[in-house]
Amino acid sequence: MTTAAPPQSRQRAETAAARAAGVWKVYGSGEAQVVALRDVDVELERGRFTAIMGPSGSGKSTLMHCLAGLDSVTRGQVSIGETAVTGLSDAGLTKLRRDKVGFIFQQFNLLPTLSAEENILLPLAIAGRRPDPAWYATVIDTVGLRDRLHHRPSQLSGGQQQRVACARALVARPEVIFADEPTGNLDSRSGAEVLAFLRRSVTEYGQTIIMVTHDANAASYADRVVFLADGAIVHELTSPSADAVLDTMKSLDRRDGR
């Protein structure tokens, strides 16, 4: 551990970084009704790297969106740290995203009009905060982007773009980073780079990361893997190997009758 670790993550290590309690999410009504989440209870610990896995359509993205306050829940409670997300106004949600949450999406993560550096510093600029120079330097070096800082996103490769997105999420030191298939659009080598980087930020700097993924290999970087099927949590593994994850996925597929 280095001195540059985010302080709050160790101070309140005992409370969960994000929590869902009895969460239901139902889309539509009548015939067209889809139950995306059914009675999900999950607690995601601080300073850990959690992966959410499951077959396509199992509700992974929905769960992540609900946890991050991007989407409302039909029933149940969601909280981030000590803040209850359910029932927050738009202004409250904006403040929550500004201060406590970081995002990495599968693609279109960056503003095309800003350089890599400006993209990285954007959340801080929006919040009107100054970056901590030591931490900023650490992040830039960790993602290995020092010589690419003044490039526009269109001048960066897909993998570099995702690393910029990771740096952006990290530099504000949010309580939790949500990543939805951050490597979904990358080749295996670039993907591995991004995953290694996420892993390091958890191990070395105590960052909390929740990642949705399809890929067993990606999930193997996590401390804990939560499996979703048909909108419910069906299984979980701790510090799994890629093979163990694969096996579980296969059994889930069988369960689905596929």
Binding site: L70, F105, F108, L111, T113
Partner: protein, 847 residues
């Protein structure tokens, strides 16, 4: 293919509705003009056919005016005896017979103040008929039309003061009768009408009894107007013409319609500007739609559609849009024409007539709408057709094309344009200078429009330092910068209108300040007497210079100078000109005139002085002789001196003796200087009292003179400002349009910035900043061009001594900028609201 493009049309109806609106505006103005002028023609034709309803043939002097020949009673009798004449009504009439309102003793303000002489019998042609009382039978009796009675607040038995032209003084009469006009009207078109005893009217108007200006004849049954005209023509004394009532109707209706030309010009201006701005708006809309449909178009191409089909589908869309726009615009124009006619009829106290929609109106409306749209959609259509099939598989983001070619073309227009403008302003090219300057201005404008995308970057960046506060503001600046073409095309819709206003405002402000300065430095002209003219000045309107004797008697008055003006059929050295008559020695003193050659002294008969420019134009110099023709009188004059023109004094000046050759003895202007330290206000009041006997003569102090002199220019400025409002509305719609499309295009980015913590307010600020920057850029470009051109024009005027200094109307310019910012804010309301309401989740959801 056609089906596909029509379906696409329906899906994009919101975006296209703005393009439709632009077409509606321009077609609306155009058809309003056409409908209004056709309707007004119908209106006046009805009016004059009322006047001439029983008339078959009218006899008048070939050249009317104070010197026109008159018909004697014997000649009238002889003409009336022509075979086929049923009745004859000889005419004794004058204009400028102004009744005074009882009570406050002020002249009834009206453009048309008619006086007639009547012979005490009922009008054989039935145009006027007694409603009550009797016809005037004595020199001090009058009858008035019902409208006049109402305006002057008199009834039968009251006294009525009436100003009499030719005599040039008011007299008081007894009202013995009130008459109505055919068709139960109180007046024909809001004119006043005073009827005098015939002999008195003849003596007063024509200087002798027993003479007439013309005769109207009705025809016996079975005799056509043409036949009667030909028979009468055969017996006419020389100098007279006979015309049928139909010919007279057409001529009079056309003459009156031209009075509304100013109105027509403004509406034409609206139509043209709305058309030009509309082309930009439509171009932008189609361009963005094509950009957004790149994938779809590429897919069509990949599926085998030819480029012609793709371009055709865009043009078809444009055709449908323009047809809809033209139809709505035409209906709006008809409505506007109807409203305008009703308003005018109301003002002129006439009965409204049904609107007239000529087939040519419909044709022109559709032609304008369709042609403008097709022109605007042409480049986007070509662009659409050049989308390669492979674009369907690639990412949407296409690299920005280089601005080099466009900018070079722009520079190729702008640089020679600027050169010509400078040449016109600075070089001594005489009258051609203005043409050179205006030609240069057109080139400069075209070039600047093409250069706008290149200029957008640095200008918006600079403006961004001021406006782009906070992260949201900075993002807004970036967005305004990211597609300079789009920003520029959106912004320049404002540029054209603002440039016109900027030019006019600069020239007018410079003119005003030059005038004020000149009045201030010349020996203190403090009080000005000025006749309001409603015809070319010829000495028949204004005041008797003898009245200035009473002005000179007012304590504190130093000098009072009378200026006569003749601009009716005047020629000097064979060229049409106008001349002023005044005491030149006095003028030289009061206006500190500077001599170029000769000497500025009081002029005798057949002597003149003239300014340098006029002297050059006429090829005259001091000591030479030249011919001066005032109406029918031509005499040889000597050029006594050539002087330097100033904004106050320029042109040809003759001595007071020459007034004898003018049509009338009245002075148009009186200039009064005061002793040191005398307050102008009480003097103005006393002079006003003296001038009360002359209707249409105004008295004011120096400032009111400056304002009056520039009143017409101010009217012009107001007209142009109205144009600006129209272009502002369309341009704001254009900005709204572009922002709407941009917001849709950037949905994902908006979701992203929301996801990483930008508040709704931040999103609103971001869109606002982009909108304001676009508007301010357009206005700034327009103002820069406008002030530049205004300064160049003023410089050219300075060379001709019409102005002395360039004055930039900063406060007005600042006001235009503020208006631009407001327009930007207003235009941003809808797009900003849409952007702020975006659901973060929808925005970031993958396809």
């Amino acid at each position: 293919m056609i089906k596909a493009s029509l379906r696409g049309l329906l899906q994009r109806k919101l975006r296209l509705s703005l393009a439709v609106f632009a077409i509606v505006l321009s077609v609306g103005f155009l058809s309003a003009i056409l409908v209004l002028s056709a309707t007004l023609n119908a209106q006046f034709s009805t009016l004059f056919s009322t006047i001439n309803q029983n008339v078959a043939v009218r006899v008048e002097a070939g050249e009317p005016g104070p010197r026109a020949p008159r018909l004697t009673a014997a000649q009238v009798r002889d003409l009336a005896a022509t075979d086929g004449v049923a009745a004859a009504s000889p005419e004794v009439s004058a204009e400028g017979v102004v009744p005074y309102r009882a009570g406050d003793d002020t002249p009834v303000g009206t453009d048309q103040a008619l006086g007639f002489g009547v012979d005490g019998r009922d009008d054989p042609l039935g145009l006027v008929a007694l409603r009550e009382g009797a016809w005037p039978a004595a020199a001090d009796e009058v009858a008035v039309s019902a409208h006049t009675a109402e305006q002057a607040r008199v009834k039968r038995g009251d006294r009525l003061k009436v100003y009499l032209p030719v005599l040039n003084e008011p007299r008081t009469f007894r009202v013995v009768g009130v008459v109505g006009i055919a068709g139960g009207r109180d007046s024909l078109a809001g004119e006043t009408m005073v009827l005098f005893q015939e002999a008195f009217a003849q003596q007063t108007f024509y200087g002798e009894t027993g003479v007439y200006a013309g005769v109207s004849f009705s025809a016996a049954d079975g005799v056509s107007q043409e036949l009667l005209r030909d028979r009468i023509t055969a017996k006419l004394p020389s100098g007279f013409t006979a015309r049928t009532a139909a010919e007279v109707n057409d001529e009079q209706a056309a003459a009156v319609s031209t009075q509304f030309d100013f109105f027509t010009y403004i509406l034409v201006g609206f139509a043209v500007l709305a058309g030009v701005v509309g082309v930009f708006l439509i171009y932008n809309t189609f361009n963005i739609i094509v950009a957004q449909r790149t994938r779809e178009l590429a897919l069509l191409r990949a599926l085998g559609a030819g480029w012609g089909q793709v371009a055709g589908s865009v043009l078809l869309e444009a055709l449908v849009v323009s047809a809809v726009g033209a139809t709505v615009g035409l209906s709006a124009g008809i409505g506007l024409g109807y409203w305008g006619e009703a308003a005018l009829a109301e003002q002129l106290t006439m009965d409204p007539v049904p609107v007239v929609v000529a087939p040519s109106t419909v044709l022109l409306a559709y032609a304008l709408g369709i042609v403008a749209t097709m022109v605007a959609a042409f480049i986007p259509a070509i662009k659409a057709s050049s989308v390669p099939p492979v674009a369907a598989m690639r990412d949407l983001s296409r690299p920005d094309r280089s601005l080099l070619g466009l900018s070079l073309t722009g520079a190729a227009f702008a640089l020679p344009g600027a050169g010509l403008v400078l040449l016109g302003a600075l070089a001594d090219l005489g009258g051609a200078g203005f043409l050179v300057l205006l030609g240069g201005a057109v080139l400069l404008l075209l070039g600047s429009l093409l250069l706008a995308p290149l200029l957008a970057r640095p200008v918006i960046r600079a403006l961004g330092f001021v406006l782009g506060r906070g992260q949201a503001g900075r993002l807004g600046v970036r967005n305004a910068l990211r597609n300079p073409r789009r920003t520029a095309v959106t912004a320049v819709a404002l540029t054209v209108g603002v440039m016109m206003v900027g030019t006019a405002a600069t020239v007018i402000e410079s003119f005003k300040s030059s005038l004020t300065e000149a009045l201030g430095t010349s020996a203190g002209v403090e009080v000005l007497i000025q006749a309001q003219l409603n015809a070319a000045p010829d000495g028949t309107q204004g005041f008797d210079p003898k009245a200035l004797e009473r002005v000179r008697a007012i304590p504190g008055v130093e000098e009072a100078a009378a200026w006569h003006f003749d601009a009716a059929d005047v020629a000097v050295a064979g060229q049409p000109q106008f001349v002023f008559a005044t005491d030149v020695a006095q003028a030289a003193r009061m206006f500190s005139m500077k001599t170029v050659s000769g000497s500025l002294r009081s002029l005798g008969a057949r002597e003149l002085v003239l300014d340098e420019n006029t002297a050059e134009a006429l090829g005259l110099s001091a000591g030479e002789q030249t011919k001066v023709r005032l109406g029918p009188v031509e005499r040889q004059y000597t050029v006594v001196a050539v002087y330097e023109p100033t904004p106050l004094v320029s042109g040809i000046l003759v001595g007071p003796a020459a007034v004898a050759d003018f049509n009338g003895p009245l002075a148009m202007q009186g200039l009064v200087s005061l002793d040191e330290g005398v307050d102008a206000a009480p003097v103005v009041a006393q002079v006003e009292q003296i001038m009360k006997d002359y209707p249409g003569v105004r008295v004011g102090d120096r400032q009111s003179y400056v304002e009056q002199s520039s009143a017409q220019l101010d009217g012009l400025l107001l007209g142009i400002q109205l144009l600006l409002v129209v272009s502002l509305v369309i341009a704001a719609l254009g900005i709204l349009n572009t922002l709407m499309l941009s917001v849709t295009e950037r949905t994902r980015e908006l979701g992203l910035v929301r996801a990483i913590g930008l508040s709704r307010g931040g999103v609103v600020a971001m869109v606002n900043v982009e909108s304001i920057l676009t508007a301010v850029f357009g206005v700034a470009l327009g103002l820069a061009l406008g002030v530049g051109l205004g300064a160049a024009l003023t410089q050219a005027l300075i060379r001709l001594k019409f102005a002395t200094a360039i004055t930039v109307p900063w406060t007005q310019l600042a006001a235009y900028l503020v208006v631009a910012v407001l327009a930007g804010v207003v235009a941003a309301i809808l797009p900003a609201r849409r952007a702020a309401r975006l659901n973060v989740l929808d925005a970031i959801a993958y396809e």
